[in-house]
């Protein structure tokens, strides 16, 4: 049986599944339930500086995008950092850590951007014996208006500065949580590294308005007729997170920087993908908020079973294996030719591939054969775009089959076994220059 134990910047947890800093980790009651359910660790919901507690709205805090059967695909929130007194949180953190010493206990922090404020809170957090801190530079709503959260995360110099303060004034491992609401994730990641951070975690939520109430003409969730942008998360954001994690993992400067991945992780498979993209731990929130804490059982057993089947004894055995295969478009093999193939035994004849290809793509699927409803790819027209594969409701019914010899009936060109990319392609004016 594979070993799911994880050591991340020195922080040990029985499995890589942590609950992200969010409502599920706001207090002892929830966190203890999470640990009982089997979560490997938690990032305690963000603490602010001592003083009058944070105030949240008293109307709705969440909005969502649903798929078929109201499956929740994307969640948006306008909740702020913890609205409970600092002292209560610290007391509970200390107690829970003492009672659950094998679980990772990370404390998320967000205080005004001055050294004294950080210094003050670091000292108090350190007393809880937590395993590390996560700097919330990501929250895109509310707190950012006050110069915190994403307002810091969007300025690499601030990230570097605060990370440095935290390393100076505490012995705890420092994880910098990055906001995706920037143009290039590598800059804040590099800043965190420069500031001495031990790791980054990403992504925080994406600025979003999930819907407009068409009766009141206001964004949802609506508070007394008005709405404010919130932070978007859940399965819908996973591709964005995966790309950003990959960008950091393959960047020359930040390559090797430990990453705790966040963003739409819903099943073991999502987790495995992020780990393959170099994440050391994964953080989950929306899936737990949608289905409850018990989902971690599927995540753990699913990951372990897959590792067993693949022969990976530990997470380190496959961690980062996908990173070398992330490349730039210009290096993709242009001699690689595939054609869509429809398995007639699996085909249920819904015709969605036909509609997609005929109306919106390359007219490469026929809908009739011998007077009968029949869907088949016309190789001479198929550019192998994969759209039919993606719109087909039956898994593995349409697959991409590589041509290894002969001639591509679409282009009339011979299939070349060699690798050739855009950088050397005759149509590339840059390539010509390089040749001169």
């Amino acid at each position: 049986m594979s070993d799911l134990r994880s050591t991340f910047v020195g922080i040990k947890s029985p499995n890589p599944f942590w609950l992200a800093s969010a409502p599920p980790t706001d207090k002892e009651y929830n966190v203890v339930r999470a640990f009982k359910a089997g979560w490997g660790g938690v990032v305690w919901k963000t603490l602010g500086e001592d003083g009058p507690p944070i105030v949240n709205v008293n109307g709705p805090r969440y909005g969502a995008i649903h798929g078929a059967d109201r499956r929740l695909l994307g969640l948006n929130n306008i909740e702020l950092i913890t609205d409970r007194p600092l002292e209560v949180n610290l007391r509970e953190i200390k107690k829970v850590k003492r009672e659950w010493p094998d679980r990772a206990m990370i404390v998320s922090l967000m205080v005004p951007c001055n050294e004294e404020a950080w210094k003050a809170i670091l000292a108090r957090v350190e007393e809880t014996d937590c395993d590390g801190i996560e700097l919330n530079f990501g929250c895109p709503h509310g707190m950012s208006e006050r110069g915190m959260g994403a307002a810091v995360g969007q300025v690499p110099e601030y990230i570097e500065m605060v990370a440095r303060w935290c390393k100076q004034h505490s012995r705890m491992p420092v994880i910098v949580k990055l906001t995706p609401n920037i143009t290039d994730i590598r800059y804040p990641a590099r800043a965190a590294l420069k500031g001495g951070a031990d790791a980054v975690s990403l992504i925080n939520t994406i600025s979003s308005i999930v819907s407009v109430d068409l009766d009141n003409f206001a964004p949802m969730p609506t508070i007394d007729g008005k709405g404010s942008h919130g932070g978007y998360c859940g399965p819908a954001v996973k591709p964005i997170a995966l790309n950003m994690v990959a960008e950091i993992a393959r960047d020359k400067e930040t390559h090797g920087l430990p990453i705790s991945a966040i963003g739409g992780i819903t099943t073991w498979r999502d987790a495995a993908e992020f780990i393959a993209m170099s994440a050391g731990t994964v953080q989950v929130c929306t899936a737990a908020m949608t289905y409850g804490f018990r989902i971690v059982e599927e995540m753990k057993s699913g990951l372990a079973r897959w590792m067993d089947e693949k022969g990976y004894a530990t997470i380190e055995d496959f961690r980062g294996r996908a990173v070398p295969n992330v490349t730039d478009w210009q290096y993709l093999n242009l001699n690689y030719v595939t054609k869509a193939h429809i398995d007639q035994d699996l085909c249920i004849k819904c015709g969605r591939c036909y509609a997609a290809c005929e109306d919106t793509s390359h007219q490469a699927i026929m809908k009739e054969k011998d007077g009968k409803r029949h869907f088949e790819v016309i190789d001479a027209e198929c550019v192998a775009c994969n759209l039919c594969v993606e719109v087909c409701p039956v898994q593995d019914c349409i697959t991409m089959v590589r041509m290894t010899e002969g001639t591509d009936p679409r282009t009339g060109r011979k299939i070349e076994p060699s690798y050739a990319n855009w950088t050397t392609h005759p149509n590339n004016p840059m390539a010509l220059k390089a040749a001169e």
């Binding site: 078929a68 249920i348 004849k349 969605r352 036909y354 809908k367």
Partner: protein, 445 residues
Amino acid sequence: MAAGKGPDISGKRLTRQDYAANFADLHPPLDDHGALVEADRCYFCHDAPCMTACPTSIDIPMFIREIQAGHPKSAARTIFDQNILGGMCARVCPTETLCEEACVREAAEGKPVKIGQLQRYATDIAMQDKIHPYVRAMASGKRVAVVGAGPAGLACAHRLAMHGHDVTIYEARKKSGGLNEYGIAAYKTVDNFAQKEVDFVQAIGGIAIEHGKALGKKLKLADLQKQYDAVFLGMGLQGVNALGAKDEGSDGVVDAVDYIAEIRQARDLSKLPVGRRVLVIGGGMTAIDAAVQSKLLGAEDVTILYRRGQEQMKASLFEQDLAQTRGVKIKHWVMPKKVLIKKGKAVGLRCEYTVEKKGRLEGTGETFDLPADMIFKAIGQTFVDAAGGALELSGGRMKVDAERRTSVRGIWAGGDCAAGGKDLTVAAVDDGRRAAESINAFLKA
């Protein structure tokens, strides 16, 4: 049968609650949640097989998408455009052999989208509206006579009214609706739905219905031809096939069609007598409806006798299952020979086993007797030519072309009385609509 007492035929076999429960809606309607969950299952197929399978070619993927997108009334409009009796069809269509059989999810997982239920959901919502969904075109000044206020006649009348023509429907019976009102098992169309639907159809305006007027008696086809600009015949089938068994005219041998009508019209089901032991002869929907409803009325033993095998039964597998789960026994490969009588009343049936030889059915010579208190004949209805031979027939029914024109100019026909029909409500509606479009083109030419 208790010796000497004669056949046991009586009402009040059940408690009031049992009657109510037995004759409640077979498929309770979907609620909003159920409809949305089900609508989400539709794949919005290209050139959808369900749509092809629907005799009225309703754009099923579109109406389901409209439900999904929160506009059930738009969905209903999509349905009514093709089938103004979409409400009844949603209840009585054998969807398991039509749209739902063709649904790709049937191929994918053996569980088609509940198209019939979704259609009912949408049409129920739309029919609660006070405003009729269609507006009539400018008055054409043309008048059309429709014979029969059944599904074909109503569909035809509605489409004609929509095109601005004035329609008079002549209906032989007291109520409109045809088989929707007098046929069809009660549990498929509860709460007087057939009459509500007639009101809905008439709400467009320009449709008058005269009851108690059957073609061939006071009402002559020649007169209609003179008085109206066009005539549509949709009077259904009036005759019943004979069993060809000795003494089939005895007391206790009943036409299933009549009995089903009685059930539908009964104000108090407990007053409707039913035999303790019931035999139903036939293999179609009428046989099933008579058998199941006899059972629901409290009959103890109900057996359907069918002269061929299970695959040849016209009743769908779903209907056969329905009968069997209600405790009806279905006996295949048997045919009636002779009604057994005692004091002039039927007390049983002598049957003969059958066998098919080179496509022909014949008796094996081996017989057996089944005791019975009531015997239903459900072996099909026949066309009675009320037009007095004025129209060409084909296979015993009125010959029509693709536009449902008969052999006589100015006369159209549709529904069960027309040749080539499928004996389905939905097919009759399709006939009516097609004929109306043809009549409209004829009148505007």
